[in-house]
């Protein structure tokens, strides 16, 4: 396999920075030392070999390398802005990680390689992304010495997360368990039932479907203030927003799933003189499942976003992640803002993955899983 020339050059840049570049605008410290040099040399070597395993190894090595200047500069603690040595180290190592991960994903599979290698090829590049993003964030904040009040660093967010985890979890409980879960269940079941009614009525298909589709373009969260009046400013009004937001995609997809059928299959059941209930149970419903799951996933994403906007727009008791975000943002406590966003993302990604898992186990027959099937 060929050497990864791009990574090699990036590693050279990093090495150059270690040896020659000043770390900060003031003071004369460099990164020169045994460990950084070792990392850079290791990267050079691994990039030259360029095979799957060395390229894989190069990724964590380079990620650690990219952290070194950040750690050193913040350890200096004289508030000085970074100089070119810092940037050469930082970007050099980051690019090594980037190109090495790219090589891993591109490396050709040889016929009889083990499953572990195959897994590695699929998993390593996506796994690298959050590290690279976090390093870039932290590297820029530290490098330019951005004050916490303008944009917090990763460590600020982490500290905030650790210190106020209890509060954030209470907020999450309000937002997700009370507001989202409640609204989601009602909205989805109502949407499903209405969808069935529409699928079985030509009149409603002609009359209601276009309106329901148009609602996809309506900023429903705008209703939030009105619902705040109707249901009070506590969690009920936000749950109501979730109900409405989830209702329409579920209706649309249910109708599509129940009606977008291969006519041959309908004729087949007709040829068996199946009764409508049998047709529903054995044909329409299973056919609608993939559509339904798409709707559920969409509705889950939408309801999280909407509930947060709803909390912005219905200022009630200061509980819930959305409230926390908007209050903290107003006070300039961005570390709290990001911590809250992190928690909410973590929860919604979990919900999304749960739905995907449920989808896979219930609609594993669906052609979209073909590649994974074997």
């Amino acid at each position: 396999m060929k050497p990864i020339w791009t990574a090699f050059i990036a590693a050279l840049v990093a090495l150059l920075g270690i040896g020659l570049g000043p770390l900060a605008q003031e003071g004369s410290s460099t990164l020169l030392g045994f460990f950084p040099v070792l990392l850079a040399l290791l990267c050079l070597g691994l990039a030259l070999i360029g095979k799957l395993i060395p390229a894989t190894l190069a990724v964590p090595v380079a990620l650690i390398g990219a952290y070194l200047p950040i750690g050193k500069l913040s350890a200096l603690g004289n508030g000085s802005v970074a100089a070119w040595g810092y940037w050469a180290n930082f970007w050099g190592f980051l690019l090594v990680a980037f190109f090495a991960a790219g090589r891993v994903s591109l490396s050709e599979a040889d016929g009889n390689e083990e499953r572990a290698k195959k897994r590695l090829r699929g998993a390593l590049p996506p796994a690298t992304v959050p590290f690279i993003l976090l390093l870039i964030w932290q590297g820029l904040v530290i490098g330019f010495q951005v004050p916490k009040g303008i944009f917090p660093g990763v460590h600020h967010v982490y500290n905030q997360l650790a210190s106020s985890l209890g509060v954030l979890l209470t907020d999450s409980y309000i937002t997700f368990v009370k507001e989202v879960q409640f609204g989601f269940l009602i909205g989805v079941s109502a949407g499903f039932l209405v969808g069935i009614a529409i699928a079985y009525s030509r009149f409603l298909q002609n009359g209601f479907l276009p309106i329901a589709a148009a609602f996809g373009a309506v900023p429903i969260v705008g209703l939030a203030p009105v619902l705040g009046r109707a249901f009070g400013v506590d969690w009920q009004s936000k749950a109501a927003v979730v109900v409405i937001v989830t209702f329409f995609p579920v209706v649309l997809n249910t109708v599509q799933g129940l009606t977008q059928l291969d006519t041959l299959k309908l004729e087949l059941l007709k040829a068996y003189a199946a009764n409508p209930w049998q047709i529903f149970l054995k044909l329409r419903l299973p056919n609608a499942l993939p559509f339904l799951f798409n709707a559920l996933k969409l509705a889950a994403v939408l309801s999280v976003i909407s509930v947060i906007v709803a909390e912005f727009l219905i200022p009630g008791p200061p509980r819930g992640l959305g409230q926390r975000i908007s209050l903290s943002a107003r006070q300039g406590a961005y570390d709290t803002v990001f911590a809250a966003i992190f928690v909410s993302s973590l929860i919604s990604i979990t919900i999304y993955q749960l739905l995907s898992w449920l989808e896979r186990s219930l609609t594993g027959w669906h052609p979209s899983y073909r590649e994974e099937g074997h």
Binding site: A101, G102, R103, S105, L106, P125, P126, T128, V129, P130, I150, F151, F203, L204, N206, G207, F208, P210, I211, A214, F215, G216, A217, V218, P219, V221, G222, L223, P225, V226, L227, G228, R229, A230, F231, A300, V301, V304, I305, I308, V309, F312, L313, L321, G322, I325, S326, A329, R330, G332, Y334, V337, F338, A340, I341, S344, S345, S348, I349, Y352
Partner: protein
């Protein structure tokens, strides 16, 4: 015409549905107004020769009842036992109720002891002159009161408890007291419904009646004019779409050209859709503000927020389009020995155009929401978002509904506009 008839019918039904909905949401509020004594009209009854309270003066009974519901804190209320007048006074303890102390001093050395509105019985405390020793330590911040003469136990029933039982045959009477006469909102539930200051869901014809005054509220020269607000918001949304579309295309092309980039990022794009990006609006506004770009003066923050929200569907959809090429056609191009760039321009790109617009359509609603939220965060009095928030704060619910309908129509219109673009740029695709 025939196609629109069912839509029309359903629309009419939906509008008519506004009436029961208005009742559904309004009546509980009306009932609350009607039941809530604090919202009743008060009336002071003065009787020249006085009237007796119900209750037996048998030497042991202390509970007496006014003829009607009485107002609890009432200066004009009188209460006599025979000729001596009783005074309504609540004494506070001299010490702070900190949850640890159980002994409290009061001004008088007699009276009824009440904790959090509940009358305590003699067994609950021991009295030593004006020192009360509670058997059970009152919790922190509990309300302790001593009523030397009498205590209003149940104002709705007009029930009072006297500190000392009147002797047998004594006359307990009043010549003046204030009552809750009737609900201020009206005598019937419907009357209360109609006099609600703000209906969560107004009757549809009330909304309709507001339309003309609403449009005339601000002249065209005022930036709060509805036409100008709508234009401003659509401008914000369209610039979001332009920016988001451009970013989306670039990313999609990068993804397709550099496979590793896609392999690394695609799992995260799906995950990132679950991140409530809209929560970043306040942060983004402030960060941009640090660079001197504020929403007061520039559309850019709105555009960035909207673009950030709407580019994901564009990327996902466009990548799908760039990929979803019939392998036969790719083989055909290969057989012509076409260069990759040619294949891209002649096959992949055109094939992706309809997909791109489909993604953009999906993003439109999101971009509109982004613009509206961004506007609520600004205070330059521009845009529908600001209008909605303003009307909410001033309680013009009918106007909020009109604004919502307008934003809904705007959303539909913008999607239709993108559809028009799609037909323009991808005329071969039957939509």
């Amino acid at each position: 015409m025939k196609r629109f008839l069912p839509i029309l019918i359903v629309l009419v039904v939906l509008i008519l549905l506004g009436y029961p909905l208005a009742l559904l949401f309004g009546l509980p509020l009306a009932r609350r107004d009607m039941k809530d004594l604090r919202k009743w009209e008060k009336e002071t009854i003065s009787l020249s020769d006085g009237v007796a309270l119900a209750g037996q003066s048998d030497g042991s009974n202390t509970v007496f009842t006014y003829p009607r519901a009485i107002v609890e804190n009432d200066d004009s209320r009188t209460l006599f036992v025979n000729d001596s007048s009783l005074i309504y006074k609540a004494e506070r303890p001299e010490e702070r109720v900190d949850g640890e102390r159980a002994d409290f001093h009061f001004e008088s050395d007699h009276g009824l002891v009440v904790q959090d509105g509940v009358l305590l019985s003699d067994g609950d405390y021991v009295r030593e002159q004006n020192l009360i020793r509670f058997r059970q330590t009152p919790p922190r911040n509990a309300q302790l009161r001593q009523y030397p003469d009498y205590f209003v136990q149940d104002s709705e029933r007009g029930e009072v408890v006297l500190g000392a039982a009147p002797e047998t045959g004594a006359r307990v009477w009043t010549d003046s007291y204030t009552i809750y006469a009737r609900p201020a909102c009206g005598d019937t539930l419907m009357a209360c419904f109609f006099s609600l200051p703000q209906h969560p869901v107004p009757f549809p014809h009330w909304i309709a009646a507001r339309v003309v005054p609403f449009f005339q509220k601000f002249p065209l020269t005022d930036e709060r004019n509805i036409v100008r607000s709508t234009l401003y918001t659509s401008l914000g949304t369209l610039s979001s779409l332009a920016l988001g579309g451009a970013v989306g295309i670039i990313l999609a092309v990068l993804f397709v050209m550099f496979r590793p980039l896609e392999r690394a990022l695609l799992p995260w794009t799906i995950a990132s859709q679950t991140i409530p990006i809209i929560a970043l609006v306040p942060v983004l506004l402030l960060v941009l503000g640090n660079f001197g770009i504020t929403i007061q003066t520039s559309l850019l923050p709105t555009a960035i927020i909207g673009a950030y929200i709407c580019f994901f569907p564009v990327v996902v959809s466009t990548v799908k389009g760039l990929r979803a090429i019939d392998p036969l056609i790719l083989d055909l191009m290969k057989s012509y020995a076409a260069k990759p760039l040619e294949i891209f321009w002649k096959v992949r790109f055109p094939a992706a155009v309809p997909f791109f617009f489909t993604g953009l359509k999906l993003g439109t609603a999101a971009a509109l929401v982004g613009a509206l939220v961004a506007e609520t965060e600004s205070n330059n009095r521009r845009g529908l978002g600001f209008q909605i928030l303003g009307q909410v704060q001033s309680g013009n619910v009918a106007d909020v509904w009109i604004l919502l309908i307008i934003s809904g129509l705007l959303g539909v219109g913008l999607v239709a506009f993108v559809g028009l673009l799609q037909r323009l740029f991808a005329p071969w695709e039957r939509v």
